[in-house]
């Protein structure tokens, strides 16, 4: 009684109390990709260890894969070396790998949910901070570094500290043209990029209850941008309906048993929280970042802030951001000219994201000075989108339609900004240099807002371009 989902999952996975005071926690699902794993496998090899639970470990390639020409060997020798290393490691240690030749390949945080690997009540770890995405299913999921990847490979466990839980209720309903991305950007704007340090964020309220799993994943994905290593939504009938029939979901009678256990892991109605926050979802508007961290944002109708708007100690950060971005205090964010429009990343590259963007772009043209890029999150998303004709809509509008991967979210492949280009991006980070050019600039927004900016050639309010929601 009175327990949160975090507490229940914690209790079910606790192996023992360690002499350091930490908890030894069993990890139910370990996801592996090519960037943060090679050194971990090498350490296992050096110490003569094996992967203890290869059946709970799955690997794919996403960060370095080219999205245009995927012929092997890659033109990029470093990328080729990384992929070869993962292939060798997966084979040697008995870990299943979905590489480019598999229809299951894609961004690790897109494929695990769509295959039914991600399930409620699990602990999930991956050498990537956006592992918080999987919290959308009511899992406790978080990012780790390479030494901890080694820990999980060798022992299926981590030594971790407890977290507090902050319940965030988003009440009411979102207006037309306002999306899950705007909800999480607004949460980060209000609570700050370090507001969640030490906390898991539990998202709920009418807006979250009404969201699809894709939308919940967008929200949970960016928890880490608010400082919270873990973010989750309690599992409900939406979760169960999504999982029904997926390749790794139990079927038949076992599915009914699973639903009972999954449901039992949700926070109790009288759960105790360390903090509570309420946000009026009905009042939300599209949000756009203007600065160099995801908390530096305004609603699309607002103006860019000035250093004097904040307390003295925070002023240098605003000044630095304005200088880097080349933006002026007091100017409206709408009308900011863009050079590149990127729709993709583990935040916003799922089928519903592509549908929302396609709805805006349909029968229109990308502005002549804008390069538009759509990178589906997985090969499965790509195929599903093509079956619906979304690729045609994007191509007809002047967008490039690419293969699946992380792409220009972090530009470890050939997709990069050049010079001081400004990118309207559906990704998750607007850090200096994030999109591959040290001086490149990123404006984070929803996929529909990216589509609107691509047409206008500048930041613009998507609400003028989308039809009123049914029943609204």
């Amino acid at each position: 009684m009175n327990r949160t989902l975090l507490q229940k999952v914690w209790d079910a996975h606790r192996v023992r109390h360690l002499p350091t005071g930490q908890t030894q926690m069993f990890i139910g699902l370990h996801l592996v990709h090519e960037v943060t794993s090679p050194q971990a496998f090498e350490m296992l090899r050096g110490r003569g260890w094996k992967v203890e639970f290869p059946e709970r470990t799955f690997a794919t390639v996403d960060h370095i894969v080219p999205t245009r020409d995927q012929t092997r060997p890659f033109a990029d020798v470093l990328a080729e070396e990384m992929l070869s290393a993962l292939e060798r490691n997966a084979k040697e240690f008995g870990v299943p790998l979905w590489d480019l030749s598999s229809p299951r390949q894609g961004i690790v945080h897109v494929i695990a949910p769509e295959l039914g690997l991600t399930q409620p009540g699990m602990t999930i770890a991956c050498g990537d901070s956006h592992t918080s995405t999987h919290g959308a299913f009511g899992a406790v999921a978080f990012g780790i570094g390479t030494s901890q990847v080694r820990d999980v490979l060798a022992s299926q466990c981590l030594a971790i500290d407890p977290l507090k839980v902050r319940r965030i209720d988003v009440t009411g309903s979102l207006g037309q043209g306002v999306y899950a991305k705007d909800v999480i950007l607004e949460i980060i704007r209000r609570l700050g990029v370090k507001g969640g340090v030490g906390y898991a964020y539990e998202y709920g309220g009418e807006v979250l209850d009404g969201m699809t799993m894709d939308e919940r994943m967008t929200v949970c994905n960016m928890s880490v941008e608010g400082g919270a290593r873990v973010g989750y939504v309690n599992p409900d009938t939406t979760t169960f309906a999504y999982l029904d029939g997926l390749p790794f979901t139990p079927s038949g009678e076992a599915f009914e048993t699973a639903k009972t256990w999954w449901g039992s892991m949700a926070s109790d109605a009288d759960a105790n929280y360390d903090d509570r926050v309420q946000i009026d979802g009905t009042a939300l508007a599209p949000v756009v970042t203007w600065g160099i961290n995801p908390g530096q944002s305004v609603q699309v109708g607002e103006t860019i802030p000035a250093p004097t708007d904040v307390e003295a100690k925070d002023r240098p950060a605003i000044t630095e951001a304005l200088e880097f971005m080349g933006l002026d205090s007091g100017a409206p964010i709408a009308g900011t000219k863009i050079d590149v429009a990127f729709i993709g990343s583990c935040t916003n590259s799922r089928l519903t994201d592509l549908r929302e963007a396609a709805q805006v772009i349909a029968k229109k043209r990308v502005s002549p000075h804008v390069t538009g890029l759509v990178v589906p999150g997985s090969q499965a998303v790509r195929v599903a989108a093509e079956q619906e004709g979304l690729d045609e809509i994007f191509r007809d509008a002047g967008f490039e339609w690419r293969g699946a991967g992380c792409s220009m979210c972090l530009a470890m492949n050939p997709d990069k900004l050049e010079g001081r280009q400004v990118c309207a991006s559906s990704s998750n980070r607007n850090f200096k240099g994030r999109q591959g050019s040290p001086t490149g600039r990123t404006l984070l927004m929803s996929p529909a807002m990216v589509a609107a900016a691509a047409i206008a050639g500048e930041v613009t309010d998507v609400r003028a371009l989308v039809p009123v929601k049914e029943g609204a």
Partner: protein, 205 residues
């Protein structure tokens, strides 16, 4: 399992300090993603803060990591939320390989702190006033040695002693030489198998 891998105890760091001013310095800035395109950590030290360093050179000045007086520094002083963003361990790896042996700041992102601890790189926090004092000392007297004592949770410098804090678990792991956790996690593996057998999604619903 796990025997024969010597893990030193980390009890005390002595050296000069490099003051890295700024809030929310993310791991993309500490080590840009293009340098993660490798199957090794070796060589990352050459690229720590690379884009920031180049930008300052172009602006006619020098990044703190390029200034001659800090080349031998071993204690990194930071402000709030240092190491936020990407979970890349490459960030503390690059700092450690550059010569940093401890970080002392107002606060750290959780993943950066966990990654640093796993490398035997202690991260301690202190009040903004104490950090400002230490940064000021390091700016005025770059050769001034500091002694960071993990037992006493203090930094001694220039005849003064200031208090720092550490979360109990990382401190204990560093002091006891158990910060390389794998051996510890494998040491009672029967208990791990027992927990796995109780989880319905492992055994089958």
């Amino acid at each position: 399992m796990g025997q024969g891998h010597a893990v030193p105890k980390i009890e005390r760091i002595t050296g000069t300090a490099v003051p890295m001013r700024g809030q929310d310095i993310d791991t993309d800035r500490i080590i840009p993603a293009r340098f993660l395109r490798s199957v090794r950590f070796e060589g990352l030290e050459a690229h720590v803060f690379e884009d920031d360093r180049k930008a300052l050179v172009e602006a006619g000045t020098l990044h703190i990591f390029d200034q001659a007086q800090y080349q031998d520094a071993s204690i990194l002083l930071t402000n709030e939320n240092f190491g936020c963003g990407s979970s890349r361990e490459h960030a503390p790896q690059a700092l450690k390989r550059w010569g940093i042996e401890a970080c002392v700041g107002e606060s750290f992102s959780e993943i950066f702190l966990a990654n640093s601890t796993a490398l035997g790189l202690p991260c301690a926090t202190a009040t903004p006033e104490i950090i400002e004092g230490l940064m000021h000392s390091a700016e005025e007297q770059p050769c001034l040695p500091m002694v960071f004592d993990l037992h006493a949770l203090s930094i001694q410098t220039g005849g003064q002693t200031v208090e720092v804090s550490m979360a109990p678990a990382p401190r204990e792991a560093l002091l006891s030489g158990t910060w390389d956790a794998t051996g510890l996690l494998l040491s009672q593996f029967g208990e791990v198998r027992a927990i796995a057998k109780k989880l319905p999604y492992v055994t089958g619903f």
